[in-house]
């Protein structure tokens, strides 16, 4: 987006504010105005493609959740990032863009599934990756990577096999690279291998 256009955008819509970005132009948009703004983006500014919908969990900060939308204009070949804070930290919600961009359908379902953001007006807001009865939203900051013990989705299989959805054995993980030095010497490894599935940590 050229400098002129961006100034226009912020100048024209008083509710927008500029957002720090290292790549494409980005704006903050309050969730109340999101639908109107995106409608204009699509129809007047020719951002005809919704590339991605995702969200950020800011953990202890408030507002805790921010929805992120990436738009692309196939005629102008420009990207634009729109961020919108969720007002409620406990039951976060955003307006659904499905009516404007059908691409939003699965993206919003994924964001709902993994982050627990409710998209108001979505025609079919149910989980897309985890199973329907799964009780958590795993990409939230307060969810451990290894998972939390829950019943297996199919009750009969769970009964036969006595298998539960168990926290994954981290074995000293998570397996992360230190990030400095030669790649060959900084392969992701466990930080502490003194414990494992059968031997508890610190024993």
């Amino acid at each position: 987006m050229s400098e002129k256009d961006t100034n226009q955008l912020i100048g024209r819509f008083k509710y927008l504010s500029e957002r720090d970005s290292v790549d494409h132009y980005a704006v903050n948009c309050p969730s109340d105005h999101l639908i109107d703004f995106c409608q204009i983006l699509r129809d007047e500014y020719l951002f005809d493609m919704l590339v991605d919908v995702t969200a950020i969990d800011w953990d202890v900060a408030s507002p805790r959740f921010t929805g992120i939308y990436h738009f692309y204009s196939t005629s102008k070949q420009l990207y634009l990032r729109v961020a919108s804070d969720c007002k409620d930290n406990i039951k976060p919600s955003l307006p659904s863009l499905v009516r404007l961009y059908s691409a939003a359908d699965w993206h919003e379902r994924e964001t709902y599934d993994l982050m627990g953001i409710h998209f108001d007006g979505h025609p079919n807001l149910k989980r897309i990756l985890m199973w329907d009865d799964y009780p958590y939203h795993p990409l939230r900051k307060d969810f451990p990577l290894a998972g939390i013990e829950t019943p297996l989705p199919a009750a009969d299989v769970a009964e036969q096999t006595k298998v539960k959805v168990a926290a994954a054995p981290m074995m000293g993980g998570p397996f992360v690279s230190s990030g400095d030095g030669k790649m060959s010497q900084t392969e992701p490894t466990a930080k502490d291998e003194s414990w494992n599935e059968s031997k508890a940590k610190g024993s």
Binding site: L129, M130, W131, Y136, P138, F143, P144, L145, A146, G147, I148, L152, P153, A154, V157, Q160, T161, V163, V165, A166, A167, A168, P169, M170, M171, G173, P174, F175
Partner: protein, 178 residues
């Protein structure tokens, strides 16, 4: 009875090979393994390569990949097993007729692999009995062929007649995988 000589006329009966029922049954079984590709991730690509002309799994008498569990007796679990998919794998396994075998192909199917996460079953052996594990991420087609040959060797050691008469428990997961 045990020392009685059985009269045998080769002109009438033709040539006869004397063997054990187990050996015959196992020999037949091992050379007609019908695998069911349970392709779940990138391992499935290597599985396909093993089925192609370059690696040619048919050299060992087990090339008839069937996508129906009713027509297959060896499930090759090739890829990451998520908890959501575990149920499906278990059901498909149960739909396969006995005798049946399972090959866990690759690190993910064997142990969860690099996916130490909330969504991944930490080894398909938690949900179905596995006969052969293959290491690798993904294993090369040669490794799969080696595993299938190992499986054939294992089949040759089975007590098939005894198993035929044995009543199977309701819960095959806890059965010693022959």
């Amino acid at each position: 009875m045990s020392h009685q000589i059985v009269g045998y006329d080769s002109k009438v009966e033709g040539e006869v090979i004397i063997t054990k029922a187990d050996a015959v049954i196992n020999w037949i079984r091992k050379n007609s393994v019908w695998p069911m590709p349970m392709g779940l991730a990138c391992c499935a690509i290597e599985l396909m390569a093993a089925g192609g002309s370059r690696f040619d799994i048919s050299r060992f008498g087990m090339e008839v990949m069937r996508f129906s569990p009713r027509q297959a007796d060896c499930m090759i679990v090739a890829g990451t097993v998520t908890y959501k998919m575990a149920e499906v794998i278990r059901r498909i396994y149960e739909q396969m007729g006995d005798p049946k075998w399972v090959v866990a192909m690759g690190a993910c199917a064997s142990s969860g692999g690099m996916y130490r996460s909330y969504a991944t079953l930490q080894g398909v052996d938690r949900i179905i009995p596995v006969d052969v594990y293959i290491s690798g991420c993904p294993p090369r087609p040669e490794a799969l062929l080696d595993a299938m040959i190992k499986l054939q060797e294992k089949i040759m050691k089975e007590q098939s007649v005894k198993n035929l008469l044995k009543e199977l428990p309701d819960n095959p997961i806890h059965r010693d995988s022959v």
